[in-house]
Assembly symmetry: C2
Homo-oligomer: 69 residues x 2
């Protein structure tokens, strides 16, 4: 099941991690965040993928699709 | 075996991930990086830990100990 998340705070990175770990593809929409925090989410997601495998695709300037391995 | 890394670029985050995935504790010394990039490494490490379990401890202002689960 594809999850669509639009985090409004950096803390919601944990939700991204939760679904990704469960094996669900996650559409991470960062348009609700200022650029600096959006960047933090991207770095967090990069670490998540480094840890578990999978990939991250940019689908719009501030929207990413995270695919678990 | 404890790994000590002092990244000089954000790209070296991959080395942190490599050792962490192998189960080695990593001392991540960010003193060679400007604050902005240091922050990126911390966010990356947070994602890594979210993905694989373990913990991150701050041992000095810009030095972190990452412990795999």
């Amino acid at each position: 099941m594809i999850r669509k998340l639009r985090p409004a705070t950096y803390g919601e990175a944990l939700h991204v991690g939760h679904y990704f770990r469960a094996g669900d593809p996650v559409v991470m929409d960062l348009n609700a965040l200022p650029d600096e925090e959006a960047r933090q989410l991207v770095d967090f997601a990069a670490g998540l993928i480094c840890g578990r495998g999978g990939e991250m695709n940019r689908v719009c300037p501030k929207v990413f699709l995270l695919l678990p391995a």
